[in-house]
Amino acid sequence: MRELPQGCQEIQDDLLAAAVAEAGPQAFHRVQAHVGRCAPCRGEFERYRAIDRAVGALRREPPGTELDRARAGLEVRLADLRSRLLTYRIFDSPLGRILIGRTEQGVSLVRYLGSRGGLGLVRAAGVEAVADGAELERFSRELLEYLEGKRTRFEWPIDLRLARSDFHRTVLEAAARIPYGAVTSYANLAREVGRPAAVRAVAQALRKNPVPIVIPCHRVVGASGDLTGYAGNKIALKQRLLAVEGVPAVRTERDFRVLREAMYVTAPGEEAYCRPTCCSLPSVSLAWLTLFASRECAEACGLRPCTSCRPDRHPISR
């Protein structure tokens, strides 16, 4: 390597910086002045300039078809991942730890974890699980508000792909329409989905509800008013959720029973709600009635007080 004069040696870093457009204005002027009077450094400056321009030419190179192919490959893999990816969050609630999970389409999983870790269960569902997600914070907060009686509905996108069949999905969508503070029977839900004889299948679909609380399967009870079952053996949870919504229930020997006689009532297709003893109630099966915890709950669904039993003038006293 040739020995440079000291003035040249000192300016080499600035010279390179100036040639490749990385120098500040002061350094640039220093370099300009120097190369003006030093031919070897001017040559060096030009060589770096040429390299920089060749680099600039590299930027314009379009990879063309190979890029399109790479993009198509990515889209396929993304679609696959999207269909499997579930973001989840685990939080403490008055009902114990709850896991809430969502896909790109919406909330797809709510699970009572109790004291057990629940992630194994999520993995078993054939999905790829990833912790947290900012939006889930809102969902878990709203769920807690509901459990404290401060929220009556969830405006969430729901993804029902974890439902086991189209029939299950139909049942769950029908259950999603049962209003806050109301209960109806498995038989009535079976009638709703056009399969009045499939009462047991309806109960089974609700038992496998992937998003309990959000899809309020706890609002479906036996025709007699017995709660009959919830999420396996969590009948006490069902009673607590109903209590949050103001639905009165009493303990029986093995179960709880909704106090039908203490609830307002309406029949399918009716526009009014009645006291449970109203004589104008159509002679439909008891199982087909929807019961309301309060006049407010009934009126929130657009029902008006019956003009014959006047629940507005003679509210039920508890």
Partner: protein
């Protein structure tokens, strides 16, 4: 209540940045198949992490950081690295013919610069490519390479010196002058 999410913002991110990330990886790995794999992996990772990305994050720099990281892991295996170099050198020699003499010389110079870049050590190559071909600032490049902004700048300058040493700079300047 039962409805689909109306928009998928991640699609917009793919549309906006896939081309550039792909080119970056094509340049730094020197192989189409590696660029395919690593660009897919970059976006799949990004998709998984996207829900927890702060709303004010710089998405482009974030994608470059993922791609850079994958690239560095990829090159940790020395064997792989050598294979990649052999391929790029073969590519580099196959310069296109035709056109005015100056243009040909310049194209040749360009592909030689490309081949030189691919022979740089990984950190220099990444710093050089991020800075000179993808306009990342030195702070960002430093963060991606786990070093200071000053070291990132030093990597880029070192890369220039190496290219200058490897290339016959005279030819390059003359080719330019004759264009």
């Amino acid at each position: 209540m039962v409805e689909a999410m109306s928009e998928e913002p991640f699609d917009a991110i793919v549309a906006a940045h896939h081309g550039e990330i792909y080119r970056f990886l094509r340049r730094t790995t020197g192989r189409v198949s590696d660029a395919d794999d690593l660009s897919q992996e970059t976006f799949l990772r990004a998709f998984r992490a996207y829900p927890s990305l702060p709303p004010d994050a710089n998405v482009r720099a974030w994608l470059f950081a993922i791609a850079t990281n994958l690239c560095r892991n990829h090159f940790r295996s020395e064997k792989r690295r050598r294979k990649a170099l052999a391929v790029v050198e073969a590519d580099g020699r196959g310069a296109e013919a035709g056109g005015p003499e100056g243009e040909t010389l310049f194209n040749e110079a360009r592909s030689r610069v490309e081949a030189m870049v691919s022979r740089l050590p990984v950190k220099q190559r990444l710093a050089f490519t991020l800075r000179k071909l993808h306009d990342q600032d030195y702070e960002t490049v430093g963060r991606m390479l786990d070093c200071s902004a000053e070291s990132a700048r030093a990597h880029v300058f070192q890369a220039f010196r190496k290219i200058r040493g490897l290339l016959n700079g005279e030819d390059l300047a003359r080719a330019e002058a004759r264009r």
